[in-house]
Amino acid sequence: MVTKALTTIITIIVGVGAALIVYWILNKLAELLPERLEDRIKPYLYILPAFLGIVVYLVYPAVLTVINSFRGPISQNWVGFANFTTLFKSHDFQQTLINTLLWIIIVPAVTIVIGLTVATLSDRLRPGAEKLTKTIIFLPMAISLIGAATIWRFVYDAEPAGQNQIGLLNAVGQLFNKGPVDWLSTDNFHLNSLLLMVILLWSQVGFSMVLLSAAVKGVPVDTLEAARIDGANERQIFFRVIVPQIRGTIVTVFITVTITVMKIFDVVYVNTNGGFNTNVLGNQFYNEISTNLNYGAASAIVVILMIAVAPLMWYQVRHFKSEEAA
């Protein structure tokens, strides 16, 4: 065990050290250049490692994916737009798109609302209480997916009527003599999809809370005090002083969460695997690539996602422009 601990430490030092050395060298290298050239080359040197990583691990596979979306299940023959037409013709896939849209409309907005609520309200508590509140909201993020799946099993579980209910919701129902409801197979008003969203919200609000909290802390106190002296109430301060100043972070969190939700699969996969009309694009992708081993269809789904993200990028550009103008 001691040797294992030692090799672990050495491994970590070597890995981290190598990364630091690369930048030190890159900088030395740039400084050897004449000043005018140095200024022009430096930005590229700074983004080079990051860009290399993204090109190798994401851009290159993404290009292959676009190509594969026009090929057959194991990418051996060309099929034209067949993968896309098969998808869009399927009734199930249309449902999947509708469900995904539902997730996109609901989850990012609610994540921001809860995250912002906790971030601003807990800011007023004493430091100890604030820390505790944030830790509790953060806790679910720390647990692995398998753990989270089990946790919610004990909330939504339904046993046959007459047995002890071991799911929390149905146990509460049992107290009031309501028969067990099989929550996850009930798709009236997309109830089951909404219940799955609750799981994602529960586990991911911590993300928006942490980022928004950091932003709220960054709002200069003097602006708050100035507003108070002007007689603004807390609601006005929140909407007119705090929100405008952290707008950038809100946009960042909103776009990040929206993109996460666009490709969400694990929550759906482990609970219903898309059954009972809960399927979403990400889960369909995961099934195509890992169960059905149909790389063509899986790639087509990714291409659809890439196209769907365009409006968000457009919004991001506009946000940049307004940022720069300000």
């Binding site: 860009f51 691990y57 679910p140 209910q165 929390l168 946009v251």
Partner: protein
């Protein structure tokens, strides 16, 4: 549970006294928590805790008990408390793989895979925020749109690449994978944070003759600590809890992390979840420690303080 209800009476004098003692008097939000604040937060906290608490208690119950009654039976029928057992934890830790070894592997994977991408992303984010260069917006948007690409599509091409380099199964293979997969988000979050930093400060540093390298390390990095800390928490968490990337690029064996080790406990038909849940609680300790340790960086006025220094 009791703690979550925040019964903090919050004597006003006390709070202010504390603030006065603290030298950093920026760390003061003039607003105080009223009943609305406290109740709202208490409700949210309770809602957040119930599922977790239930499962935590469940992890100490025998499988037969779990399947025949809910965890709240512990409160309604205290007799069942006597049947609580540590056996799930015992089996999770000793039953499957060598958990001690796996724990060190997880550390060897997660620490560099957290630190390196943050360093790389911070440099890139700095360039995107404070440097003018041709193609800046296009490059940035390319990076951000890659957020939507599921990393699953990269597995086969990257495995092939690693094979030619003889890297499959090494720690460096997973580090680089996590660096690549996490880079888009890291740059996105850091650049958007850096954009909120006061540009005047950076410009005056430039006029004082500071190089970009100096500005980055002495000014921008310290001012970005809250964002860096947030991202460090998330990246550590994701890498620590990652199963898929580890499974594909390291696989089971001597270099496997805890997440892969825990899967050995499950049977083909999905039995054994009670052990993975217990194991899950054990493995969540470290991310929590990281969260608590880095939380002290989310303090009001830290950025302002750095500007002065």
């Amino acid at each position: 549970m009791a703690a979550t209800t925040q019964p903090v009476p919050a004597p006003v004098e006390d709070t202010q006294a504390k603030v006065k003692r603290s030298p950093a008097h920026f760390d003061r939000n003039p607003a105080k928590a009223g009943w609305f604040t406290k109740i709202t937060l208490a409700v949210i906290c309770v809602l957040w805790m119930i599922p977790l608490l239930g499962t935590f208690l469940t992890s100490f119950r025998s499988l037969d008990d779990v399947q025949s009654s809910g965890w709240w039976t512990l409160f309604t029928k205290p007799s069942s408390i006597a049947r609580l057992t540590l056996s799930n934890y015992d089996k999770a830790i000793t039953g499957g793989a060598d958990m001690g070894r796996d724990f060190f592997n997880s550390l060897a994977i997660a620490l560099p895979a957290t630190f390196i991408p943050i360093l790389i992303a911070a440099f890139a984010a700095y360039a995107f925020t404070f440097m003018e260069f041709w193609g800046r917006d296009v490059l940035f948007l390319t990076i951000v749109s890659m957020l939507v690409v599921p990393n699953y599509v990269a597995f086969v091409p990257i495995l092939k690449l690693y094979r030619t380099l003889g890297m499959n199964g090494t720690f460096a293979a997973v580090w680089l994978a996590h660096i690549g997969f996490g880079m888009s988000l890291a740059i996105y979050i850091l650049r958007n944070y850096m954009a909120t930093l006061p540009k005047t400060v950076i410009e005056s540093a430039k006029i004082d003759g500071a190089s970009h390298y100096q500005t980055f390390f002495k000014l921008v990095l310290p001012m970005s600590v809250p964002a860096l800390a947030s991202f460090a928490i998330f990246q550590f968490l994701w890498v620590w809890n990652d199963l898929l990337v580890a499974l594909v690029f390291i696989g089971p064996g001597d270099n496997e992390p805890v997440t892969v080790g825990l899967t050995h406990l499950k049977t083909q038909l999905g039995q054994g979840w009670e052990l993975t849940t217990a194991g899950g609680f054990v493995t969540m300790i470290l991310p929590l420690v990281v969260f608590l340790a880095l939380q002290r960086f989310f303090v009001r006025g830290l950025t302002a303080g750095a500007v002065k220094g």
